[in-house]
Symmetry: none
Subunit: 177 residues, 4 copies
């Protein structure tokens, strides 16, 4: 279920109860362990995969629609800021919170989160390769962009303000142009 994606994104992995998820998704409780024999961890892993795909598609759309990389960065930041404000700063990255929470305790979920991050990074790197960057350069630069956006998103949620996100993106875009 993708009710899990939404709730993990808002409250985090640990704070979200399975009951809450089934209620939110109007799914019966008993079926959960039929579809996800691995329990909450499996559910989280699949949520990471789904969120990775969905968010990845969104990132791709923005990145491909932008005229150049700096423009893409700013566009992404604006999009994330809009989502943040629309939800009252509840909805952040659908992967980051869970990734941090389970990094030390659940290797399987951490790996799924990592795969999602990798996918996004690859989307950005792909665009830069098409712009003529070398493979290695594109990869490193994409990592930086993704990291900066994720980090700025944390700062923005803590401050309950889109400023850090907008500022960091603007600065990074400027540096890259």
């Amino acid at each position: 279920v993708n009710a899990a994606v939404d709730l993990f994104q808002r409250r985090g992995f640990v704070a979200t109860g399975l009951n809450e998820i089934t209620r939110h998704g109007r799914a019966p409780k008993g079926s959960l362990y039929f579809h996800f024999p691995g329990g909450k961890e499996q559910l989280a892993s699949e949520a990471m995969v789904l969120a990775g795909a969905r968010y990845g598609a969104m990132i791709r759309a923005v990145v491909d629609g932008a005229s150049d990389t700096p423009a893409a960065i700013n566009a992404l930041a604006r999009l994330m800021a809009a989502g943040l404000e629309r939800s009252g700063f509840e909805v952040g990255c659908p992967v980051a919170t869970t990734a941090l929470e389970v990094a030390a305790t659940s290797p399987a979920v951490a790996a799924a989160a990592d795969a999602a991050f990798d996918g996004w990074q690859e989307v950005i790197a792909d665009r830069m390769r098409r712009d003529g960057r070398s493979r290695h350069e594109a990869s490193r630069r994409a990592t930086l962009i993704l990291a900066a956006l994720e980090g700025a998103l944390i700062l923005a949620r803590a401050k309950r303000s889109p400023r850090p996100l907008i500022d960091a993106a603007a600065e990074l875009a400027e540096l890259l142009s």
Copy 2:
């Protein structure tokens, strides 16, 4: 107690039980509500403050010891990477995980986390102002640096590898030089 700082850093806010904290800190259970009438939230707030001060001092030492900003960024990344590896990728940022978890539920703790972030950002900005940057430019650039490091730390923990941290820092340092 600063046992809380350590545990929140490793497992996150929600996953850490009060029992665990008192055990880890060899403090009596009943005393907790005497010293922290606000309960877990107050404890977390004070943990954010303490971690902010400690981490801030460390950042200041590194930043002041570096020859220029790019060198400082790389030095910080190496330091964080070292801590990551030393702890088996358990110990990340003492504020970020908690900040994400409580962003939507506990304004007080979120504010404390924000204050910690602000302190760190100010340390970095301060250095750049001393290097002759304008107030506004220094602030934005410091936000970017902090965001990039925090974001890269997430990626690194998910991947259980210091690579994202080292790469993102190297790329950012290069852009800034």
Copy 3:
């Protein structure tokens, strides 16, 4: 299925899940309620019947093969002790545990268990009648023998030692000779 017999014998009725039984018996889960519309109770009842027949045959073989009643008692005790030790004191009486667990809640299963006990008692009584005892005397004496063996089996499992079984049988055999 007689996978149920084995599992009820080891872990008891309540502690054995239907899933476990189907897995142990390589039977499909959904088929269970086709063959046993009465659910777990019916399964238990039939397990009692099957165990009663099987164990009864074994008792008959031992009893008929022994030279006299005291010898039969000792032989039975040795056989039970051997099964106990072979299984690490996991496998006791296939009926007693379930009988005790459901005595208060499931009359149907309790009746099936009672029938199994009656069958065994009859096997022993039959032998004694053939040895010339009166109907009434044989019945009472068989009840005592069965009770002593069942009771000693409990003591033996609790102590994880065949001693109570061997001792009680020896004492009873001596009294009867």
Copy 4:
């Protein structure tokens, strides 16, 4: 709590929920894990101890009040039969059911059950030693008596009739006189 003794005695260990026990004993759930950090197993162990002591005292009273061993056996059987009938055959031995259920899964509880059995056996053996039996003879005979009573109790509960208990006791008493 001795509500546990009562419920384990009626329904068995596995079938009795902790909630049920706290409800039955009017104790709050949260307090349970303060007094019994070991959880259900510890509760069961202490229930075995308590039941062992209480039942042991009762056995001692009967045994000491009887004129000789055969009379004691019959008196015990009558007492057990009375308890059985009074409760609609719900209340059996407070130790046997649990002992059988946990024999394979919980060594600690099994040991506690064994200790209770040993205590009872010792009470009976003690009486016989005072009657002039040798140490070894008294011990073996006491084991037989205890086993026969426990076993007959199972048969009686399955049959929902005091007959097996009364008959087995009568037969054993006769053999001993």
